[in-house]
Amino acid sequence: MLSDKSKEEIKRVLNKYPNKRSAAMDALRIAQNETGCLSGDVMQEVAGILGMPAPQVNEVAAFYTMYNKKPVGKYHIQVCTNVSCSLLGAEHIVEFLSRKLGIKKGETTPDKKVTLSVVECLGSCGTAPMMQINDDYYEDLTDEKIEEILSKLP
């Protein structure tokens, strides 16, 4: 069950739109912020709040990559490997992170602290290579910079 706080937040975003369905993406994001990932139960609850058929909420959740269908670690590292980043060594960044964290891409460390993902362009090509940890961008990456960033993760 979602907390009252999340439910309130969902109710607030409803005001932006002429119909409830439009709030689906916001509602799923709010739910995910609370629960970490979108399980069937969470989607069903969102469907109930928005008066949508659950399979259609499922459609939305499954279409957009930022909705987690599986639990992710406390820190979700997403490395861009699109062309600009790739030209400047994004694959090396992924390998380096993989080695440092001891996990392959798509995996989460056993202590559930870090998940490593490979993603498409994050719109930061001028500062490639780059990665995103949770909401924040880390740009112009080098091995040293990554070591420092990782060491500073609380």
Partner: protein, 824 residues
């Protein structure tokens, strides 16, 4: 055609276009695809289906339009006057072949183990227009190794999906279940249920039917046959009165599937769970296959000769005899049955089971819907700008009618108003859903009429609905069979007739159609299964007794012989105790049926008849559409064709249903122009029987002021707070469906449904086991909560021997009251 005025003819703007050089003039706005088909050029499609919203995604139907750089999807592109279209040139053909090559790329090509092999659209199109070789040599997308069983009826193979999304759209737009979605994106999309897990849906299997490949498959039919091994016969569904065309497939004498055809019947490709999966009763082990007679108080098997001679010897004649038939029998059988009752037994004591209605109510229904004036094709009825439904949980009772209304109501210019105590699936398409307590239907009608006549503020739902009536110019009303069950049904129907007259006076076109729960309810009346009417709804000279009156008479010992054709009176008559007692007073009872029903168990002679799959004949659906039943298999065991049985007893010389139909044509005016032989998948609409109304006015005893039994139950009763409605469930119909294994898997036992408010007040949660008590009877069942249903109303499906819902009824007391208590 009925007595309604002709509609204003619409003037269409036309467009002339060239398709492959051939000039054709079509209505402006016609899709290129349709124009090409009209011109005789077939364009292959996957995602396109006429009844579904346009998707334009499979790109199979790309055509070249002179002057346009890109090929255009003909399924979503309307013609423009002067357009020059090419559907067969090299560019188009190679585009088509390339789309097929793309679709085959990730398709597993496991045709040898695919149920669809032999009737697969992908296979067929590739055979016809596909590339002869593929350049694809990469790894194929694979979701799973083992097919997924999503429900008792649906098995899914995601690997084979070609993403036409017909399944998702039919479930959403037509069936209204909205149980499917496209989960994922790119090549990884799966069209499936919530979380790709078990499907809790209507189990109608229409997703299976529309699937062009073997992605959605029928679990019951799985690995049962190859399409070319099947013998397939087109016939009519035996459940509700929507009258869906079905195609039964048999292999080695066994019925292995029921499907529907895309271009046949009003249902086209759709069916409901009952129609598609409710066929196992046909070859059920429980069928009675030998005649039986009661010897020393016990039923024992006997020969046909013995059974028939006992009947001839024991069955009386005159007023002290009676006949009751089920509306599941064919027109031909019912016509011969009334001949038997009237000419051989010499009585007008004949009726349908009329589970809840007396002869005055049934007559008033015939009048309100102008059944004597001929049929109204449902698609004509659905052209109205306002559609009003009252007295039917249509989503449960007539599922395919629900689909047709949903499709019509998706047109934003139309208004759908539903009046019913229970929430139903179709509510999601309605502008206004009026809730009321059962028994107060008359007040709803009166409220609408009052507002139209006197005006007022449209604050209440009823007034808002009435305002919509005022603004509409073509109105269609659907009257449900529940009105027949009301003690004040005549009042309600009189009210409806008055409302119709009022609307007509203000210049509106009104059409009125019944919604019946038995496949041949309308035909039965026309065949003279009514104590007041001969075939063709001609008035009898001397009124007979209706079902209720027969039982009253029986109770008093005034009936000696009763012939029951396929009806289970003990289980279905309101007030089970009374019915059983009355029947046991009748000295000689013949029951002709397919199963050993509660009524058959107390018969003196049982005659094993045939199921719908074992006979020829016709049904007349609720629209007045006469459709052909065709024999698929021979009657099982020693059972016999019902027509043969009735003819043997009556000494009639008819050799076939066709011969009886010829006789019907002579006696029933509305059938005179119909050719039995030529009845195809679209059937034929009956014409008028030569009169507009039954002219019973003055003789119909109006209940208001005299017998107020219908109103009494509306009064508050603190101890028994719920008014009980009983009826069919989506998966069940009468007591027949409980003999169909799959339907029993879908819903094996009854439940009681109440509103969310009531559940909250009583502190009962969904799925909890409760006891329903009333009229000295009680039954335990699970509770279901219906959000948005009328408070103070409970519903229990009447389809199970395990709970005799008619025990809750007390004769003469109308709608029963019950209480619901938690199991300790």
């Amino acid at each position: 055609m009925a007595d309604e005025e002709d509609e204003v003819e619409t003037v269409f703007i036309m467009a002339t276009v060239k398709i492959n050089g051939k000039e054709i003039t079509v209505e402006d706005g016609t899709l290129i695809l349709d124009a090409a088909r009209q011109a005789g050029f077939e364009i292959p499609t996957f995602c396109y289906q006429a009844r579904l919203s346009g998707l334009g995604s499979c790109r199979m139907c790309l055509v070249e339009i002179a002057g346009q750089k890109k090929l255009q999807p003909s399924c979503v592109t309307p013609v423009l006057h002067g357009m020059d279209v090419f559907t067969e040139n090299e560019t188009v053909k190679s585009a088509r072949a390339s789309m097929l090559e793309f679709l085959l790329a990730n398709h597993p090509l496991d045709c040898p183990t695919c149920d669809k092999g032999g009737e697969c659209e992908l296979q067929n199109f590739v055979f016809k227009s596909g590339p002869r070789q593929s350049g694809f040599s990469e790894w194929k997308r694979r979701f799973h190794d083992k097919d997924k069983i999503l429900s008792p009826v649906i098995v899914k193979n995601h690997n084979r999906c070609i993403h036409c999304e017909r399944c998702v759209r039919i479930c959403d737009e037509v069936v209204g279940a909205k149980a499917l979605g496209g989960i994922g994106r790119g090549v990884m999309i799966q069209s499936t249920g919530f979380m790709d897990d078990r499907l809790d849906c209507d189990h109608c299997g229409n997703c299976i039917e529309v699937c062009p490949v073997g992605s959605f498959m029928s679990l019951p039919y799985r690995y049962k046959a190859r399409p070319w091994d099947l013998k397939e016969v087109d016939t009519v569904c035996p459940y509700c009165a929507t009258g869906c065309q079905i195609t039964i497939g048999i292999r080695n004498g066994e019925v292995v599937r029921v499907k529907s055809r895309i271009n046949t019947g009003i249902n086209k490709e759709t069916l409901c769970a009952r129609g598609r999966f409710g066929y196992h009763f046909i070859q059920s082990r429980d069928r009675i296959t030998k005649p039986m007679v009661k010897k020393d108080g016990k039923l024992a098997e006997c020969s046909w000769d013995e059974a028939l001679s006992v009947i001839k010897q024991m069955f009386g004649s005159g007023r002290r005899t009676a006949g009751i038939a089920s509306a599941r029998y064919t027109n031909e059988e019912l016509f011969v049955f009334q001949k038997l009752v009237r000419e051989v037994f010499k009585t007008n004591n004949i009726d349908l089971d009329s589970r809840f209605a007396n002869k005055w109510v049934t007559s008033a229904m015939i009048d309100a819907c102008s059944l004597a004036a001929g049929g109204i094709p449902i698609f004509d009825a659905l052209k109205a700008d306002l559609i009003f439904i009252i007295g039917s949980a249509v989503s449960d009772e007539n599922p395919v009618t629900d689909y047709l209304i949903r499709t019509a109501a998706s047109d934003r210019r139309k208004t759908l108003i539903i009046a019913h105590p229970r929430r139903m699936k179709l509510d999601s398409s309605s502008a206004i859903s009026l809730r009321y307590k059962p028994g107060t239907e008359g007040e709803v009608i009166k409220g609408i009429a009052d507002f139209i006549e006197n005006g007022g503020e449209s604050t209440s739902d009823i007034n808002a609905a009435a305002a919509r009536f005022k603004n509409a110019s073509n109105i269609t009303m659907f009257l449900g069979a529940e009105i027949l069950r009301l003690a004040n049904g005549v009042d309600v129907l009189t009210g409806i007739a008055a409302l119709k007259a009022l609307l007509k006076r203000s210049g509106k076109n009104i059409k009125c159609l019944p919604l019946f729960d038995r496949c041949n309810q309308r035909g039965a009346r026309a065949m003279g299964i009514h104590p007041l009417f001969l075939p063709g709804l001609k008035k009898v000279k001397e009124d007979g007794m209706d079902c209720g009156e027969m039982l009253d008479a029986a109770k008093k010992g005034e009936i000696d012989s009763l012939y029951v054709l396929g009806e289970d009176i003990v289980s279905m008559h309101p007030d089970a105790r009374f019915a059983r007692e009355a029947l046991s007073n009748i000295k000689f009872k013949v029951v002709q049926d397919t199963f050993l029903t509660e009524t058959a168990k107390i018969a003196d002679v049982i005659l094993p008849g045939a199921s719908y799959a074992e006979k020829d004949g016709t049904f007349t659906n609720q629209e007045g559409r006469v459709q052909r039943l065709r024999k698929v298999i021979s009657p099982v065991g020693d059972s016999k064709d019902d027509l043969d049985i009735l003819c043997s007893i009556g000494g009639f010389a008819y050799k076939s249903a066709r011969e009886v139909f010829e006789k019907i044509k002579k006696e029933v005016a509305g059938y005179k122009d119909i050719s039995f032989e030529e009845l195809d998948g679209n059937g034929a609409i009956v014409t008028g029987h030569g009169r507009q109304s039954l002219s019973l006015k003055g003789t119909v005893p109006l209940l208001s002021g005299s017998d107020n039994s219908g109103q009494q139950s509306i009064k508050e009763d603190k101890e028994y707070p719920f008014l009980l409605i009983t009826g069919n469930h989506l998966f069940h119909s009468g007591r027949l469906s409980q003999r169909a294994d799959i339907l029993m898997q879908l819903l094996p036992e009854p439940f009681v449904e109440i509103s969310e408010d009531d559940a909250r007040e009583s502190g009962i949660v969904d799925g909890e086991k409760v006891v329903v008590k009333g009229n000295g009877y009680e039954a335990a069942m699970k509770l279901r909560i219906a959000k948005g249903s009328q408070k103070g109303v409970a519903f229990v499906p009447e389809n199970f021997d395990s709970v005799s819902v008619n025990m809750f009824y007390k004769k003469g007391e109308g709608i029963p009251r019950v209480k619901i208590v938690k199991l300790p």
